[in-house]
Every structure is written in C-alpha cells, then in structure tokens.
Amino acid sequence: MNGRFHLLLPSASSLSGRIDALWWTMVCLCGAVAIGVFVVMWAFCIRYRKGRQIDRTLSHSTTPIELTWTLAPLVIFVGVFGWSLFLYAREESPPKDAQTIYVVAKQWMWKVQHPGGQREINQLHVPLDVSIRLTMTSQDVIHSFYVPAFRVKQDVLPGRYTQLWFAATQLGTFPLFCTQYCGLDHSRMGGQVIVMRPQDYASWLRDNGGSATLAAHGAALFRSLGCSGCHGTEASVHAPDLDGIYGRRVYLADGSDVTADDAYIRDSILLPDKQVVAGYAPIMPSFQGQVNEDGLLALIAYLKSTRAPPVNATESTQNGHH
C-alpha cells in the first residue's frame, strides 16, 4: 500500500475513462469561469480605484445582462446534468453477465467470498476485463466500499444488499478504502484489489479453492438447518420447491408478484411470512439468529446453483405453486 505519489490517478476500470472526461471538463469549465471573474474583479478594482479620474456614469438597464447570467449557468448546468445522468445510470446497472462476488463488511474488515468458495480478508482478486458485480452487506454499521482507481464507491448497509460493479482494465494492485465513518479503526479498514490476467486468476482460484465452493457450503447448510426437510423433493410437507428459484417470478398470496433475487431469498429466510407464496400456508419458522450473513450468502449461492427440474416434469412442480 506504499504506492509512490502520482498526481494523475490511474484510470483502471471500463467507466473510469468516461468519468475522468466529465471531471476534466468540469475542472476546465469552472476554472475558466473562476479566472474570468477574478480577472474582471481585478480589472474593476484597479480601473475604478478611489482617486482615479474616470467616467463613472451608470447606465441603468441592468436586466438584459442579469438574464444572460441567469440563463447561461442554467443551460450549462442542465447540460452537465444530462451528461452525468447518462454516466450515473451506466454505473448503477451492472451488465447481465457480470460475475458475482459477495462482500460482507464487519467493523473494521472486509470479508470477501468468491462463488468458488475462496475466502479473503481485506483483499479482492479479480480477473482482467471481466465485469464483476459485488453484492455487499454489513454485519453492524454502515461502511462504504471505495476503490479510487476504479472510480467506484457504494455504501454497505446492515440488513440490506447493495451492489457495485466494475470491469478492471489495468493490471496491478489498487488501494481499497472504507469511506463511511464506522468507528475506531475506520481508517485501518482498507485493503487491496489485485487485478490479474485470466490464467493467473484461474490458477489463483485453484490454489485457494481448498474449502468447498460457496454453493457446496450452502448445500450443507441447507441440510443442517433442516431446510431440505420441507423443501426437499421427497419432503412430505407442502412447501414451495426451491430448485431453480433464483431469478424466477414468484406469485404471492396477496396477488402481487416479485422476482426471487438475493433480497427476496434473504427476507424469506429471516422473515418467512412477509411475502407468503400463493397457495401456501405461512407455517415456515423464522431463522433469524440461527444463520449469519455468511451463511445466508452461502444459501443464496446454493439456490443459484440448483437447476429447475426438466420441463416435461409434471406442471405442478415446474413453477412451484398449485
């Protein structure tokens, strides 16, 4: 982390180039106006200083010039707003094929979990030129995941998933900071993002892939917590079948429907009766306190890895409701 001082920040992500373009345009624009006003101010101060004989008759029509410097800034600002609106929307919507990596923020460390089961503390290994989506949550207070080189930042909230995406375009190690004040060691809660060539990244995954993949860890939890007792295929209890549930439309008891994403699965585990599936009785107990954030992420990874049973199976099991 002892990078030497370099004035220009490395532009190491797919969007950082465009953001720098907007940044330097704004710097030049504001600089020009600022210098303009300073020069005019100095000129007036010198030209009309006390004791200098000069024509000081005032022309009284001030409205036209007032309107110019009311509408001109307005037009420029709307232009800049449009440009930043376009960029901001791109930043906030990750591409569909982005690889998901889970990050759990804890008071004063970043715990990273790759789908393949690799776990890292305060470090994140990512392949070059691959869109990475970080699904993040916090176990205690609000933190904020910030990589200056990628120009990305996203607060990490307890009790909710927030996401951030980037595609690294430069090899090397880039500092990672926590920018939302989170207590004593807020300033030490940093780390590194290491961008590697795809083949180095693959070999790194193999070397660190010792423990079971996240999905396998999730499957183990699925059995140990007793989920399979009701949701398993051979279960006697009348409960929705969860194979291939991730990303599907789920029809709820109150007539509305929702996409089964991370937040839906997390809420269903902690608050089963908040969104009851149509045609099922709200008999599922809450697992609050029995499974921590890491376990939840593992269960979600497991449910993502399951495939819906083949279509020719009976209609009832295919979309999981009667």
Binding site: D254, L271, P272, D273, K274, P282, S286
Partner: protein, 227 residues
Amino acid sequence: MNAMNASVSEIESLRERGLLEKQFDDPVQQREAATLGMWVFLSTEIVFFGVLFASYAICRILYPQGFAAASRETDMLMGTIETAVLLTSSSLIALGVRAIKLEQRKTAVWLLAGTAALGTTFLVMHGFEYYREYTEQLIPGLNFARGGPYARAIELFFCLYYFITGFHSLHVLAGVCVIAGLALRVARGSFGSERFTTLELTALYWHLVDIVWIFVYPLLYLVGRSG
C-alpha cells in the same frame, strides 16, 4: 376601545398600564405581531410532529400488513373517546376567549377550567391505555413479547406509537398547566376586553395540539380495523 388611530395620549396611557410594550407603536400592531409570532411557532410545531408522521409514513409503506396487525392491538374505543374529548375541549377554549372579549369573566373561568379538565381526562385515559398495553406486554425496550411473522413490524409500530403519543401528551400536559394558570388569573380579573392576547395565543396552541391528535387518531387507531 381598540380604536384604530389612538391618539398620543391614549398610547401613553396604554404604556403606563403596561398594555403596550415600548417597541410597538399601537395595540393593533402589538396583537398582529403576537399572533404572527404564535403562528410561526405553530408552523415549527407542525414540522416538529411532521418528522414523526414522515417516519410513520415510510415505515408503514415498508410494512403495510405489520402496521395493520399492530393497529388492531390498540384500543379503538378509547382512542375515539379521547378524540371527542379533545375536540370538545377545543371548542370550550374558543368560547372562553370569546367570553373574555365580552368581559363575561365568570363564564370565561368556567370554560377555561372545563378545557383544563377535559385535557386532564385525555391524559388520564392515555394512562389507562399505557397501563393496559403494559399488562399485554406491548412496550418495546421494556417487556415487548409478540411472536408471529409480524413481530418486528409490530414492535416498530409501537415504537412510533409511544413516540407520537408521548410527545403529544407532553404538549397536552403543558397546555393543561398553562390553561389552568390562565383560568386562575382570569378569576383574579387580570384579563379583560383590553388584554386578551395571551388567552388567544394559548387557544391557538391548544387548537394545534388538537389538530395533531386529529391526524394521530386515524393513523394509529384505525389502520386495518376492517381486517
């Protein structure tokens, strides 16, 4: 006697009798300033309670069913009677101010005492409500015990319930004390058709406390009653 263009001698006499402060030029200006000042203060009170209503609105949007279930736990009959009590007290104090302007001191004292009494009844009924909720273990942070799927939302509702009714009851208590004090001073004759601004301002404050409760009642007691 509130002639518009009071002559200098009248203004001097008003100043000696302490009816006109030094920074004002005539009684109308003084009363307008007092009324405007009170209304600005009432706007701050509206925004002050508004924050609680904003939190209520957001939490209710996040947990609609939870809030409906929680609202069914509250005592609707008690709430309705409390609203009726507060509305009546509001009309009493309005009549009281009218009586003072007509120099009917006797009726004014009774009307103000009536307002204070109704205010106290309101507070006592709240006491019973809180006690009942205490016995049913509905006080978050103390002995909250509710199971079922909406346990967290019910606890959230009752947090808001106690914050809103607590702050409102504080305002009612303050109002009752001030009105009782004014009733005594009216009885001793220190108010009349020349000097009633303090009474009018207290009435404005009491009406605001009533207006806040007019909004609190449906939001806390009538949610999901038709369940």
